[in-house]
C-alpha cells in the first residue's frame, strides 16, 4: 500500500493540459500582438473586476457534483430585471447599486430554487439541463421585457421604452445622471503599489494571527509573511512600475471579489460545506449517511444563482450599459470556459483555479484580436477565436472527465482484482 509518490512530470502535464496550452497560447499571441504589457495589464484588471465574481459563483455547484451551472444565465436575468426597476425608480449611484442587489437576491434566489428543483429531477444531466433551462428562461425573459413591461406593468421612464412602441428598449443606458454606472468604482480607486502595501499588510497580520493565536508552528505563517515582503519588494522594481503604470484598482470591486473567495473558503469548513463535498463525491453514500441530498443540491444552486446575479450587477455597472436582450446570453458559456481554463474540472474547482482561469481567458481575448490582425490582417479572427475557444474548452473538459471516469473505474477494478488475488 505504500506507494511512493513520484514527481511525475508527464502526469502533471496531462492533468493540466488545458491550462498549460492556454499559457503558451497567451504568450505566443502577446508576442505577435505588438501590445504593450502595460496596456494588457490595464485591460486585464478592468475585465477581471467585471467578470471574476461570476466565475467564482460556479465553484459551489461544481463541488456539489452538479458540474458547471450554466443556469447562472438565469441569475444574470434576475439582475437585469432588478436594474430595470432601479432605473425606472431613478435611484442613482451606489444607493442604486445596493437597491439593485437587494432586489436581485430574492429574484435570483427564487429562480435558483426553481432551477434546483428541476435539476434534482435530472441527476447526472445537470449541465445540459441547466443550459437548456437558460434558453427556455430567455424566452420568458423576452416575453417579460417586450410585452409585460410597458403593456401590463407601465414604465414611466421614457428612456427605458422602445421609441414609438411598447416594450423595453434594446439598450439600457446606466450612464445617465440617475444611472448606476461605476457605482463601485466611484467609491474609490487606488494605485497598484498602494494596493500591494495593503494586501501585504493584511497577509502579515494573518501570518501573525496564525503564529501567535493559532499556535501554528509550521512553516506556513513564515511563508505567508515572506510572500508579503517579496510583493512589496517587487512593487519597487521598474518592471512593476512600468507594467502597472496604467492600472487603477477599484477597491470596492476587489474587496467584494475577495469576500466571495473567503466565503467559498469558509463555507467549505462548515457542516454545509462538508455536505456539498459529500454529495458531490457520492450521492449514494451521502444519502445512506442521512444527508438530504436534494436539499443540499438545491442550496448549492440557489447560492450560485444569487451570486451570479450580483456578479452580473458588477459587470453591468462597470460597462455602463447593456444589451437588454443579449447581455445575459453568453454569461454561462464564458464563465464556464474560464473556470475550466484555470484547471478546474466538472468535478472539482477552487478559488485559485477560478481566478487563474479568469486571467488566462481574458488575456487571450485581449491579445488574440491584435495578434490576428498582425498575422492575418483581420481583427475579427480574434473574435471567432473567442467563441471557438470557449466551446472547445468546455467540450474538451467533458471528454477528459469521461476519460478519467473510465480510467478510474478500470483502476478500481484492477485494485479489487489485486486484493482478491492476495486473498
Amino acid at each position: 500500500m505504500n506507494k511512493v509518490k513520484k514527481f511525475d512530470i508527464a502526469q502533471i502535464l496531462r492533468n493540466n493540459a488545458v491550462t498549460i496550452t492556454f499559457v503558451i497560447l497567451c504568450i505566443v499571441c502577446l508576442m505577435f500582438s505588438g501590445l504593450q504589457v502595460s496596456y494588457l495589464v490595464f485591460e486585464l484588471f478592468t475585465r477581471i473586476s467585471r467578470n471574476a465574481f461570476i466565475v467564482l459563483a460556479l465553484i459551489i455547484p461544481i463541488i456539489a457534483g452538479m458540474g458547471i451551472n450554466f443556469a447562472i444565465t438565469i441569475g444574470a436575468m434576475g439582475a437585469q430585471i432588478a436594474i430595470l426597476w432601479v432605473l425606472e425608480w431613478g435611484v442613482p449611484g451606489f444607493k442604486g447599486f445596493l437597491l439593485a442587489a437587494a432586489l436581485t437576491i430574492p429574484i435570483a434566489g427564487i429562480f435558483g430554487w426553481l432551477v434546483g428543483l428541476l435539476l434534482n429531477k435530472m441527476k447526472g444531466q445537470e449541465m445540459i439541463g441547466s443550459m437548456i433551462m437558460g434558453y427556455f428562461a430567455n424566452g420568458l425573459y423576452q416575453l417579460l421585457f417586450l410585452f409585460i413591461f410597458g403593456n401590463i406593468i407601465p414604465l414611466s421612464n421614457p428612456n427605458l421604452v422602445i421609441r414609438g412602441s411598447t416594450g423595453v428598449a434594446n439598450t439600457l443606458d446606466l450612464s445617465r445622471k440617475d444611472g448606476i454606472k461605476h457605482a463601485l468604482e466611484n467609491l474609490g480607486q487606488i494605485k497598484p503599489d498602494l494596493a500591494v502595501y495593503i494586501l501585504a499588510a493584511i497577509m502579515i497580520l494573518i501570518a501573525a494571527y496564525m503564529y501567535l493565536y493559532k499556535k501554528d508552528k509550521t512553516k506556513k505563517p513564515f511563508a505567508l509573511a515572506g510572500i508579503a515582503v517579496l510583493m512589496v519588494a517587487v512593487s519597487f522594481t521598474p518592471i512593476f512600475k512600468n507594467w502597472f503604470s496604467m492600472v487603477k484598482i477599484p477597491v470596492a470591486t476587489y474587496v467584494l471579489i475577495g469576500l466571495l473567495c473567503l466565503f467559498n473558503y469558509v463555507i467549505m469548513k462548515t457542516r454545509l460545506g462538508q455536505q456539498f463535498r459529500a454529495v458531490g463525491q457520492s450521492g449514494t453514500v451521502a444519502n445512506a449517511a442521512g444527508i438530504n441530498v436534494n436539499r443540499v443540491r438545491l442550496i448549492a444552486i440557489i447560492i450560485s444563482t444569487i451570486l451570479a446575479g450580483i456578479g452580473q450587477l458588477m459587470f453591468v455597472q462597470n460597462m455602463g450599459s447593456f444589451q437588454t436582450y443579449g447581455a445575459h446570453e453568453q454569461v454561462g458559456l464564458y464563465a464556464g470556459a474560464a473556470i475550466l481554463v484555470g484547471g478546474a474540472s466538472i468535478a472539482g474547482a477552487t478559488n485559485g483555479q477560478a481566478l487563474l482561469g479568469c486571467v488566462l481567458f481574458h488575456t487571450l481575448f485581449i491579445v488574440a484580436p491584435a495578434a490576428g490582425k498582425n498575422l492575418l490582417g483581420d481583427a475579427a479572427i480574434g473574435e471567432y477565436f473567442r467563441v471557438f475557444i470557449s466551446y472547445g474548452v468546455i467540450a474538451m473538459a467533458l471528454v477528459m472527465h469521461a476519460w478519467r471516469t473510465v480510467k478510474k473505474k478500470k483502476s478500481l477494478a484492477s485494485n479489487l482484482a489485486d486484493a482478491s488475488a492476495k486473498a
Binding site: 457542516r271 453514500v285 477494478a413 482484482a417 488475488a421
Partner: protein
C-alpha cells in the same frame, strides 16, 4: 429496560405484488450476542434487513406484516436514518465510503462535530464550523477499537480494500447509543488474516454489549464466531438455534433442503460419454463486477451437461461471460485441445462456442426486432451466413433464408408466437428464452453455455426450456454448461455439478450428493474435509 432481546422481529411477512418473499419469519437477537443469519439467495435475508432498516423499497411496496421490537418496545422504523437514530447500524458489503474524504471525515460523515458562531446562530446548524481536532480524536478512538493503526488523516481512496471494511466498522461503533450492528457479508472481500481480525473485532464489540447480526455464506466462520444461528429458506424460517447445539453439516443441510418434486428429469443416457475433454479451463480470472472469477480451474467432458451452481456474487455467472469475451478475462482456455482466444467475442463464437445469456433483455435480445432477425443475427454477423453477396464487398440479408431458419426453430423449440415477424419484446419470458436458445443454436455451436436459463419464467416454461436443453444434449450430443442458481434444476438434468464459491470451483458433485454436501460446498468448504463428520448421511 432490561428486555431479554435487543431486537425482536415477530412474525414478519412481506409480499412484492403477488410474490411472497417473507412468510411468518421471526428473528430474536440478545444483547451482546453474535447471531448468524443464513440462507441461499432469495431466502429472504436482504428483505428482512430492508424491513429492519426501514428502506424506502419496503414502504413503497405496501409495507409489511408483523412487528419490530427494540429493547422490548414496539418500534416503527420509517427510514434508514431513523434506524440509525434508534441504534441500528449496518456494515455494508459494498462500501458506503467517500473515496475523496479522509478516514476521519468518513467516520464522522453527517455526524460532524462543530462549533457554533454568530452566523450559524442566526441561520442554522449547517453553518457551524467543523471542529476537525475533536473529530480526529473520536476517529482515532474508534480506529483503535477495531485494531487499526492507520493514520486517521489518510484518504480512503488509496486504502486497501480490507481496510475500508474496518473503517466502516469504526464508523458504526463511533455512533452513540449503537445497540445492534448488521454485518452484511463482511469477510467476502477480506484476506484470511483480515477476516480473522474482523471476527475478533466482532467478538470484542459484542463483549461491550452490542448485538451483531452476521450475514455470511462461510459456515466455518459461523461456527467460530456466532452464538446462535437463524436459517431462512424460500422466505420461511427453517430453524433458529444456539450454535453449540448444532453442527456445520446440520446447518448446511438446513440451508439447502430438497424440493419435493423435480422440475424436469433428463432421460437416461443410452451411450457412454467419449471421455474426451471438451473444454479445459486453467486459472481463469474474470473481472465481472459482482461476479468475479478468481483463478478457476475446470474440465468439461465432451457430450455432458455440466451444471454450475453456487450463491449469487460468487462468480458462477462470471465464468461463461468471461470465456465469451463479454468481460475482461485472463487465463488459459482450451476448446477440444485448441487454445481459445480470450477477450475476443467474435473469435470465440467462430470457434463454435455459443452462449445463452442470463441478461435476456439486455444482452440476449434485440427487443424491437423480429424473432427471425433475432435468431439469425449472430449467424449473420459472425459466420456471414444468410447473406447475398453483391460485387464482392457489399452484402444484403437473404430474408427468405432467414425466415426459413426462424420457422424451423419455431417448430423445433415450440416458440409460441403469431409469426416469425413478431417483435421479441412482446413475447413471454419463456418464449424469449427459447428465441435466445435458437439464436445460439443458429451458430451451429459445438459447445453451449446456458446462463440462468429459467430466471424469471414460469414453471411450465421452465420445464420446456430444460427439456429443450436435454434434447439438444441427447440427440445432437452437444456439450452444455448450464449455470443456475436453482440447485434443483441442476440436479435434475446435469451429469455433474461444479459448485463455485469466491470465484473458484470448490467441488464437483454428483446430482445425487447430499444436501449437506451442496450446502458446505456453497459456503466454500469441500465436503469430506470436516473431521468426524459424515457428510453423506441423508
Amino acid at each position: 429496560m432490561s428486555a431479554e432481546y435487543v431486537l425482536e422481529m415477530n412474525r414478519i411477512s412481506k409480499q412484492y405484488g403477488d410474490n411472497a418473499v417473507l412468510n411468518d419469519v421471526s428473528l430474536k437477537v440478545k444483547s451482546g450476542e453474535i447471531h448468524a443469519l443464513l440462507g441461499e439467495n432469495g431466502a429472504g435475508k436482504s428483505t428482512l434487513m430492508n424491513i429492519l432498516f426501514g428502506m424506502p423499497v419496503i414502504h413503497n411496496t405496501g409495507g409489511f406484516q408483523g412487528e419490530v421490537l427494540i429493547n422490548g418496545e414496539k418500534q416503527n422504523i420509517s427510514s434508514p436514518h431513523d434506524a440509525m437514530l434508534k441504534g441500528i447500524g449496518m456494515v455494508h458489503q459494498e462500501f458506503m465510503l467517500i473515496p475523496g474524504f479522509t478516514i476521519t471525515e468518513n467516520i464522522k460523515l453527517n455526524r460532524e462535530v462543530s462549533k457554533p458562531n454568530i452566523i450559524s446562530k442566526l441561520i442554522g446548524k449547517d453553518l457551524e464550523i467543523l471542529d476537525m481536532a475533536t473529530m480526529e480524536q473520536d476517529a482515532r478512538k474508534a480506529l483503535d477499537a477495531v485494531g487499526m493503526s492507520v493514520d486517521e488523516h489518510t484518504l480512503v481512496k488509496g486504502l486497501p480494500v480490507g481496510y475500508m471494511q474496518f473503517v466502516e466498522i469504526a464508523r458504526e461503533i463511533d455512533k452513540e447509543g449503537i445497540k445492534l450492528l448488521v454485518f452484511d457479508e463482511p469477510t467476502a472481500v477480506l484476506t484470511e488474516s483480515e477476516a480473522e481480525q474482523l471476527i475478533s473485532v466482532m467478538k470484542s464489540i459484542a463483549e461491550k454489549g452490542i448485538a451483531i447480526i452476521f450475514i455470511t455464506h462461510r459456515l466455518d466462520e459461523v461456527m467460530n464466531a456466532c452464538d446462535s444461528v437463524t436459517v431462512l429458506r424460500d422466505g420461511k424460517l427453517v430453524k433458529s438455534m444456539p450454535t453449540n447445539e448444532t453442527s456445520i453439516i446440520n446447518i448446511a443441510k438446513l440451508m439447502i433442503g430438497r424440493a419435493s418434486d423435480d422440475v424436469a428429469k433428463a432421460p437416461q443416457r443410452t451411450e457412454q460419454l467419449s471421455g474426451n475433454i471438451a473444454m479445459e479451463i486453467k486459472d481463469l480470472h474474470v473481472s465481472m463486477p459482482g461476479e468475479r472469477v478468481r483463478g478457476l480451474n475446470l474440465e468439461v467432458m465432451e457430450g455432458e451437461i455440466l451444471g454450475i451452481g453456487g450463491l449469487a456474487g460468487q462468480g458462477k455467472i462470471g465464468l461463461p461471460n468471461g470465456i465469451m469475451g463479454l468481460f475482461e478475462a485472463t487465463g488459459e482456455v482450451k476448446l477440444f485441445g485448441k487454445k481459445l482466444p480470450l477477450n475476443n467475442a467474435k473469435e470465440v463464437l467462430k470457434q463454435g462456442v455459443a452462449m445463452v445469456s442470463e441478461d435476456r433483455r439486455g444482452v440476449g435480445l434485440l427487443l424491437d426486432e423480429s424473432i427471425a432477425n433475432n435468431i439469425a443475427f449472430n449467424a449473420i454477423q459472425v459466420n456471414g451466413k444468410y447473406l447475398y453477396n453483391i460485387l464482392g464487398f457489399a452484402s444484403l440479408m437473404n430474408t427468405r433464408a432467414v425466415y426459413k431458419l426462424a420457422n424451423d426453430f419455431i417448430k423445433q423449440l415450440d416458440i409460441r408466437c403469431t409469426s416469425a415477424a413478431q417483435h421479441t419484446g412482446t413475447l413471454s419470458g419463456g418464449n424469449q428464452q427459447k428465441v435466445c436458445i435458437a439464436r445460439a443454436l443458429a451458430l451451429d455451436p459445438k459447445f453451449l453455455f446456458v446462463s440462468e436459463p429459467t430466471r424469471g419464467i414460469d414453471i411450465g416454461a421452465k420445464r420446456l426450456v430444460l427439456e429443450t436443453l436435454t434434447k439438444l444434449n441427447r440427440k445432437l450430443g452437444m456439450t452444455i454448461v448450464m449455470v443456475s442458481s436453482e440447485l434443483n434444476e441442476l440436479r435434475s438434468i446435469a451429469d455433474r455439478i461444479a459448485v463455485v464459491s469466491e470465484g473458484v470451483v470448490v467441488d464437483i458433485l454428483s446430482p445425487e450428493a447430499s444436501d449437506a454436501d451442496f450446502g458446505l460446498a456453497m459456503s466454500g468448504i469441500k465436503p469430506g474435509s470436516i473431521e468426524g463428520g459424515n457428510s453423506n448421511e441423508n
